[in-house]
Symmetry: C2
DNA sequence: TTTATATATGAATAGATGTTCATATATAAA
DNA sequence: TTTATATATGAACATCTATTCATATATAAA
């Protein structure tokens, strides 16, 4: 791995910035187990529907979560294995401190 | 991996928050190759000495970097392999997007 | 169609964060 | 001791960010 150019360092920082909020981490954490609709996420992590929805938008824009409609619910899940990997590596680091 | 409690989710978010700034990512990136003193870091990434020093303090508090004195220089390096792992996983994710 | 439920979103606000500037501290060199 | 160099740090400032509140939109049920 050589020196990264500035654009790439900004992209990487932007990625980690998304993981750098406890509401988003809680969302990712509950989605590790199951896909869930917005109101179930909100009640599981005890954060308002509006706040969850705002944060899901950020996770969606960063392509860290995907979603599908079912009736009048919208069911979210993690996009891919990378999200889980990054999350678990973070956990691991914390556990070793 | 089960549901994390709130304290742990906050710790994990705090960890990623540290990686979520482009100045700090640039610092980590140059330290991947070699240990470096503050002014060399500053000149390599083209950020003021003061800003670098402030950010090194944050990295130090999070135990992501360590340092040693040599003459009147202070030489910084990454604390352990976890930092590198997390950084590289971030790179990988970016490269695949 | 009316009502209820689920989700999204804009505006406002409070709090957090990164940089700069000035300066303090510490070590080395003269 | 004086001067120069390296680093750290506090204050101020501007910017960013997450939440709340109110409300819009959309789908389902009655």
């Amino acid at each position: 791995m050589n020196l990264l150019d500035d654009d790439l360092t900004i992209d990487i920082a932007e990625l980690f910035k998304i993981f750098g909020d406890s509401t988003r981490i809680k969302i990712i954490n509950v989605l590790l187990q199951n896909e869930l609709c917005v109101c179930d996420i909100a009640s599981k992590i005890n954060i308002s529907q509006s706040a969850v929805s705002h944060q899901l938008r950020i996770l969606k824009q960063a392509k860290l979560v995907k979603y599908r409609k079912e009736g009048n619910c919208i069911i979210y899940s993690l996009s891919d294995d990378h999200v889980k990997k990054i999350f678990l590596l973070g956990c691991e680091h914390i556990n070793e401190l």
